[in-house]
Amino acid sequence: MTRQQILDLYFLDARHKLIEIAAFLDRVERAEGKDDFRLKSFRAALAKLDDKKKNRAKEVLMIFSDLTTKPIGKATGKGAVGAWQKIK
């Protein structure tokens, strides 16, 4: 497909998602309290969008990932939250 065709197919959808992200950040910042590790990762991932590299999706996924290599001692829960937090 040409760039024009890709834009025709996905531009409105991507625009919609971008505005949702903008509104999400406004909403979070209007709310009282502190940031947490998820928002820190989110902001770091946003910076990747402006990158000139061609693998932004992979780069964003890497930002949210646990980059350690050893298994953890014990699984205390079952869920994942979407961003990795170093356990102190």
């Binding site: 497909m1 065709q5 197919l9 996905y10 693998n55 999706a57 992979k58 996924l61 890497m62 949210f64 990932s65 646990d66 980059l67 350690t68 290599t69 298994p71 953890i72 001692g73 014990k74 699984a75 205390t76 829960g77 079952k78 869920g79 994942a80 939250v81 979407g82 961003a83 990795w84």
Partner: protein
């Protein structure tokens, strides 16, 4: 358009879903053993589940003209309790004789713990001993990258395991390449919020090619779409992919992998 749904948890779905899948062109559905959304209280709970997968569910699917196959294991979300896992694994060999069983799955990791890893190794041993295909669940979200690497290490270190007989499921942009580079198959799961969207799954196909890769809905008891595969096929057409290329991904590729099990017969 005909397709194979290579990963769906039909015990959690309604007969309406079976009917809609059949109407969309589904010819066979493959159901890995997984977590029920709650922990089973004993090995007997797994015995009943394996009976459901091998006796009851194929009959329910047949009412809609669909072939039903399954994979057996203890899933990684219930693998922290090694003693329970040992007892469940001991139940599996006699079920492997059932005619709709394709192999051991979906084994893998959830939180990447030592016990999960130990149970994974026990089930790789089971697959090797009984010469079974393997279907692997990779962890969610932040745990996926590390878990995928740990799983690949276990599989690569066991020389009895042939990479072409292993499918690593739920790959995304940061894990697909390492899976394909090992000679294993990669599964892309189409989920509304986590995992892949149709657009991203097609991006992955366009980037990494269409060899040794399939798509599935992994529909279960949570937010998921049993028609995710045919919907993505439609999007492939919108993206200019030829009908033959679509058929390769949604029908020929899963058939090629699954036919390595003598039990996988479409009857066509």
């Amino acid at each position: 358009m005909r397709y194979i749904e290579p990963h769906a948890h039909m015990v959690s779905r309604t007969t309406d879903d079976y009917e809609r899948m059949a109407l969309a062109g589904c010819e066979a559905v493959c159901e890995p053993a997984f977590w029920a959304g709650f922990d089973r209280s004993s090995p007997a709970g797994f015995f009943d589940y394996f009976s459901q997968l091998t006796e009851h569910e194929p009959k329910r699917a047949a009412k809609f003209g669909l072939k039903h196959f399954c994979w057996l294991c203890i899933n990684s979300k219930e693998a922290e309790d090694v003693k329970l896992a040992e007892e469940v694994i001991a139940l599996i060999p006699k079920f492997l004789k059932r005619p709709n069983v394709l192999g051991i799955g979906e084994i893998g990791l959830n939180k990447n713990s030592r016990n999960e890893l130990r149970v994974l190794e026990m089930q790789v041993e089971l697959a090797a001993k009984f010469n079974q295909l393997i279907l692997v669940h990779t962890p969610h979200l932040e745990d996926k990258l590390k878990g995928t690497k740990l799983i690949l290490d276990v599989l690569k270190n066991d020389k009895r395991i042939q990479p072409g007989r292993v499918i690593i499921d739920h790959v995304e942009e940061h894990t697909v390449e390492m899976v394909l580079n090992c000679g294993m198959w990669a599964g892309m799961t189409l989920y509304p919020e986590t995992k892949c969207t149709p657009a991203r799954a097609i991006d992955i196909l366009e980037t990494y090619g269409s060899e040794n890769i399939w798509m599935n809905s992994a529909c279960d008891w949570g937010v998921s779409d049993p028609l995710a595969v045919p919907k993505t096929a439609l999007e492939m057409k919108k993206r200019g992919h030829l009908a033959s290329a679509v058929e390769k991904i949604i029908f020929q590729n899963p058939k090629k992998f699954l036919r390595q099990s003598k039990n996988f017969k479409l009857g066509i």
